[in-house]
Amino acid sequence: MTAATGAARRAAVTETPARFRDLLAAEWIKLWSLRSTRWTLPLVLLFVVGVSVNASLADHRNWPTYPEERREMFRLYGPVRDAFPEAGYLLLILASATVGALTVVGEYQSGLIRATFAAVPARRATVAAKAAVLAGVMLALGTVTAATSFWVSQAILADRGAGWSAGEPGVLRAVVASAVLVPVCSLVGMGLGALVRHAAGAVAAATSLLVLVPMAVDSDEHRWIAELYNALPLTAWLRLIEVHPDILNPDPYPATVTGAWLTFAAWSLASTLAAVAVVRRRDP
């Protein structure tokens, strides 16, 4: 090929300004072109909704055997537990964190990150686009999951006169919080992934932070421990889905609803900023 046709060809690839939405589109392609994403997200949705349906059906089945005071207690605390059962939501938390961690770790461990940064030297913009696409997709997953598990479980319980509607005080908040929990955990996973840059390490760290530590902490003894405990994502979620306060085992240092929302926001923001900062600083 001669220089002349080379120049002609160059004109075909026109110079375009650096647009953030191109980075969003690129991250979108990267996320959905992995088989693991296409399989994991629907399976997680099915599993979580399945656990919720199973719990609701169990209560529906056993309802005739419940004495009246148990039915009264159930009407206060039962529907939210069937809609957002711990077993399903712990898996949802871990799956979200893992997906988040892999968006960064997958690039570092494969070496793709070097091709990515050679193509887009603006590393902060790349990580911001990654966080935005991740948060958007995971919010969609969380919304579908939380809305479906709530709606199906309450439809089943309604047959026994025990179901809630989203219009009752505090109920919509529980659904929204369960949806938002998913992108929050995925961003925490992404931040840890950027810090650790190793899949097993990032997932272990996320599991500890999001699930194991909050389950191990005894928050009744010391105020400062209780406040740290209240600042964890899992605690924040548990507070936000609490429609009626627990009168049998009252918490001496309860979390507030506002504090819980702020906890969600702070973890998301801190994780994203940490990812942006370390990715820019370190040589890939």
């Binding site: 046709t5 690839v13 647009r19 392609i29 088989r35 997958g106 990150i113 070097r114 603006a122 040589d283």
Partner: protein, 307 residues
Amino acid sequence: MDRVIEMSALTRRYGRKTAVDDLTLTVRPGHVTGFLGPNGAGKSTTLRMIIGLTAPTSGTVTVDGVRFADRPRGLRHAGALLDAGDVHGGRGAVAHLSALARSNGIARGRVDEVLREVGLSAVGRRRIGGFSLGMRQRLGIAAALLGDPPVLLFDEPFNGLDPEGVRWVRDLFRRLAAEGRTVFVSSHLMSEMQNCADRLVVIGRGRLIAEQGLAEFAARSARAGVSVRTPDPARLAAVLAAEGADVRPSDTGTLVVTGLTAARIGDLALAHRVGLHELTTRTASLEEAFMALTADNVEYPAGEGTR
């Protein structure tokens, strides 16, 4: 500045080890410039600094007059194949290239163009994880070409390629240079550069050893000579030495003569009635020149350090 890679006192240290040491160098367009050095000489670190992946400890490097890390998008300014393994095995070739193209605002049609160019159109949908090293090299070259950039960097692009692939890559590099681009290709094997590069940069232990055209390089350190086989080496050696030639026996039983042409040696042998079985002018091999040049600068020499 146009299309030029310019390094000025470029240095990169890792702890106490200096990978690239005070490298000042200009790589110009219109040539395939070979970047040679033994393993561990600092070639890859240099290329990574050019493309902005590694920050220099001191000194500067610019592409087209701009520090690469300062550009928001890179593919239209320089394309690089640094390591064919820098891909996610779970993706298909089309998805991999589409994401890269999209991040730089390059139209989707360009992906099919470069896949066709490197001969991977038929396997575009297959997962990269199943690609051979040679196919990954081709994919890496396709990614480097995406932005139709004026500057191209290739780190050991011949690894894993079959002979047909090697020839294709050489032709491609020469064509890219003929189109007026700057093509900078690293290798630790001189033989790979021989039919490809027209300029050479040699480094050892992070320092610049030589920078010149291929022919000058060959002439520089390897001595041309004449290989002579004769049934009476002692007598012929005496005759030639008397004419001022330097005569050394080689391990294959021939004499290696420098300082006289083959024609003159033949005439002298005839005049002194010494039989000749072979008379060959040896051209200086680039490999020899390279080995001689880098012998003192090998980072990991074999056979040393053992007790």
